[in-house]
């Protein structure tokens, strides 16, 4: 990317109200904007800066802030700068707008986020289940879903009793329950 391109991109992006730009490196530009402004930003990037490729939409559950962060990773084959647009939406009720009308691939990512985080995208063509067809628990990628606990509750550990272990147990040894329990106490 040359500086003229970068300059014109910056000028262009300033049209979006309240946008905060951070150049993470030569090819990574972070844009923080309000959720309301995102469709306008995407339309602008797609229409006027050659950002035709929606690389991904990532969702992050900031449970302590009671928010979901959505990150739209956009790539332009012309400027060769990847723009990541960050927005925050409330975790509850967890509804946001689909950008399917701007980027076709959004359909997959939105469907995936809906399935994994429970964030609903209005206007997305398909919000049906894809991966977790037989799952009726909470959306598993939410931070409040404890997958380890779920595994502990639903599966058992393989119980081994090989002869060597029996012998050691006869001599008074055996499996150490936890590393800390073996410590000497004062």
């Amino acid at each position: 990317m040359n500086s003229a391109q970068s300059q014109s991109l910056n000028v262009l992006l300033q049209e979006i109200e309240g946008i905060q730009l951070t150049h993470q490196n030569q090819r990574r530009l972070r844009a923080d904007i309000s959720a309301d402004a995102l469709p306008a930003l995407l339309a602008l990037l797609r229409g006027r800066a050659g950002y035709v490729h929606l690389s991904a939409i990532s969702c992050v559950d900031w449970i302590e802030d009671d928010q979901f962060e959505l990150v739209y990773h956009l790539w332009s084959y012309e400027t060769s700068i990847l723009i990541s647009a960050h927005i925050r939406v409330a975790r509850d009720p967890g509804i946001y707008l689909s950008v399917f009308d701007i980027y076709t691939p959004a359909a997959f990512f939105e469907r995936d986020i809906h399935e994994m985080f429970g964030l609903y995208f209005e206007g997305s063509p398909d919000m049906s289940k894809f991966i977790l067809t037989e799952w009726d628990g909470p959306p598993p990628m939410r931070k409040d879903f404890d997958s380890e606990q779920w595994v502990m509750d639903n599966f058992t550990w393989q119980d081994y009793h090989p002869d060597w272990l029996k012998q050691i147990e006869q001599q008074g040894g055996g499996v150490v329950k936890s590393a800390d329990s073996s410590r000497k106490s004062s």
Binding site: D163, I168, G173, S182, K184, S186
Partner: protein, 620 residues
């Protein structure tokens, strides 16, 4: 061949784009005559660094469980095996990892982290069984391999793959030129950044905890420091050690000898981390943290403690927190015992020690200074007035060599001189001195005198002589290194034979013979010398630093007679109780000279007294 042999050139245009002839595939009929590829039933030998089943060298393995911690599949379980070596002081546990091959993914992270480098993976990779023999998936690896077939080592730790950080975080200290004329503290301690880096090296194996005489929660406070929570670190330190500042500076640190990271690298600087935590938190905040448990209910019992050193004050600390009234009797004007009068200021500044003592007295422990039991009060009086008495009198008298002419007035005991220096008493500073002894006390007196000599005379004339070879000195290696930097001469393997006196009766030096061996076949102390190698170490005074003994004259004849003794020491049970039911003994006078042992002793007698007093309360 259709491809270019030259590198970097554009590949020639290939003809695969053109729609080939329908007969093209027939060209491959040439392969009809080729021998088919068959795989033998025998497993094929794997590559030299293959990640197959585990091997574990049981001699090298210390049972630290790092493999278990890093295993991403929880495939590793530690198994306690009776009969294997189990030595907390050396940092060896009788635990060995067992692997569940139903879970293992052969990533070899366990090999890369292993502090002892005992784990490796083998080149063996075939194992199968039916459901009935599913137990064969749970393996206790040894050097022979899964099926005792010796396929040889595959993936091993290399300098590249080693995941432990084996070198210590750097720490600033005074250069020799800036310290040799003053008693300023040498070590500056970690900065917050250095401390976090150092704390991050810890693998939380807990060997330090097991080896520590008072079982300090070092893994916990190191973790807290790593988390940036120094107050939590202080809380963890005070769980077991009220002499936190002292032990953060002068502890003999068995923990660092036991440290698993120390097997192949530098152990975690546990002592300096403790000091860091203590230095970071304000004195007032420390006092608050110690009082977090709340004020105990008064028990109505009274305990007397003789000697305000680490053992006595630790016992006082525990007992006052159990609600007993505690009176401590100290013969000297300051508390701290040997840490106050024996350890020089440059290693342990007096005000730092004073902070530890202040925490203890802030709980309500009353220290009666300048009160010598035996003179100002008698043991019988204490027995009458208190429910329990603790004897924590330390080792205040220096041992003598009793070599010829050692009764000369310029032959001193190191402890006496150190006490004079630290209490600021006037004394005749020798122009040149020869120290007998290779322990920390010898280094302390040599280095203290060196500083005074440099101040007063501008040059250092001190020779340290010891029986041992230098690498076997009892003194801390750092002490030896720093002593040498400060201009002290060290002569090892020298057995003192007599003090040399000239005709005018002036002491002129120490005569030594070369030591051939120190112990006899039965490991008893019995030095043998080579008389032909005689050396006179010049010096106008000689200082004996060959050990100390307890001054038990305070007991009085009657009690001395009544008590049971064991080789010159008061006989005690494992809880520190003497043959007299009201009297306990703790600290250097029973365990030998070491701060952290004294602290451990203090806890032990306090627990024993607490138990005794509880029984007493319940009875009444």
């Amino acid at each position: 061949m259709s491809s270019p042999k030259t590198i970097g050139n554009k590949a020639p245009v290939l003809d695969y784009k053109s729609a080939g002839s329908l007969l093209n595939p027939l060209k491959n009929l040439q392969f009809l005559g080729r021998k088919a590829i068959t795989e033998p039933l025998q497993p094929r030998l794997a590559s030299l660094n293959y990640r197959g089943f585990h091997l574990n060298d049981w001699e090298a393995c210390v049972g630290c469980a790092s493999c278990q911690k890093i295993c991403d599949n929880a495939a590793i379980t530690m198994v306690e095996i009776p009969g294997l070596k189990n030595d907390p002081v050396k940092g060896i546990r009788n635990h060995r990892p067992a692997i569940d091959y139903g879970r293992c993914c052969w990533c070899a992270l366990c090999v890369d982290i292993c502090p002892s480098a005992s784990l490796s993976l083998s080149r063996e990779y075939v194992h199968t069984c039916d459901q009935e023999h599913i137990d064969s998936y749970f393996i206790l690896p040894d050097p022979n391999g899964m099926h005792k077939k010796h396929f040889g080592q595959g993936w091993q730790k290399t300098e590249h793959s080693d995941l432990l950080s084996l070198t210590r975080s750097a720490m600033a200290e005074l250069e020799p030129a800036n310290r040799d004329t003053n008693f300023n503290e040498i070590v500056h301690g970690f900065t917050p950044e250095q401390a976090v880096v150092e704390a991050s090296r810890c693998i939380q194996c807990g060997m330090c905890h097991d080896s520590c005489p008072t079982h300090m929660h070092a893994p916990e406070y190191i973790r807290a420091i790593w988390n940036g929570d120094v107050e939590e670190a202080v809380r963890q330190i005070y769980r077991t050690n009220p002499f936190a500042h002292v032990c953060g500076r002068v502890c003999t640190r068995r923990c660092e000898t036991a440290c698993s990271v120390g097997i192949r690298g530098e152990p975690i600087a546990i002592r300096w981390l403790k000091r860091y935590a203590m230095d970071q938190v304000s004195h007032d905040r420390i006092k608050q943290i110690v009082k977090e448990d709340g004020k105990p209910k008064a028990s109505g019992h009274k305990v007397a403690i003789i000697g305000a050193g680490p053992a006595g004050l630790t016992a006082a600390f525990d007992l006052i927190r159990s609600g007993h009234k505690v009176d401590v009797f100290e013969a000297l004007p300051h508390a701290g015992g040997m840490t106050r009068y024996g350890i020089p200021d440059y290693r342990l500044p007096f005000d730092t020690l004073q902070q530890d003592i202040d925490v203890i007295t802030s709980l309500g422990v009353k220290i009666h200074y300048n009160c010598r039991i035996g003179t100002d009060k008698t043991m019988a009086q204490l027995q009458k007035k208190y429910d329990a008495v603790v004897l924590a009198i330390g080792l205040s008298k220096g041992r003598q060599t009793r070599i010829p002419n050692s009764e000369h007035r310029h032959v001193y005991r190191a402890v006496d001189l150190l006490q004079k220096i630290s209490s600021g008493e006037e004394f005749e500073l020798p122009q040149s001195a020869v120290v007998i002894g290779g322990g920390n006390v010898a280094m302390d007196i040599a280095r203290s005198l060196a500083r005074l000599q440099k101040q007063q005379f501008g040059e250092v004339k001190i020779t340290v002589t010891a029986l041992e070879q230098q690498q076997h000195f009892m003194a801390d290696p750092d002490e030896i290194k720093e002593a040498l930097e400060e201009g002290i001469i060290i002569r090892d393997s020298c057995g003192p034979q007599g003090c040399e006196i000239d005709k005018s009766g002036k002491l002129i030096g120490l005569k030594t013979w070369k030591v051939v061996s120190i112990f006899d076949e039965e490991h008893r102390f019995s030095p043998r010398y080579d008389e032909t190698e005689e050396t006179i170490h010049a010096g106008d005074s000689v200082i004996e630093a060959i050990g100390q003994f307890a001054d038990t004259t305070l007991l009085g004849e009657q009690l001395t007679e009544k008590l049971e003794w064991n080789r010159g020491r008061i006989k005690i049970d494992p809880n520190g109780r003497t043959s007299e039911p009201w009297l306990w003994s703790a600290g250097d006078c029973v365990s030998g000279p070491d701060v952290v042992h004294a602290v451990a002793d203090g806890h032990r007698v306090a627990a024993s007294i607490q138990q005794q007093l509880t029984i007493k309360t319940n009875k009444s």
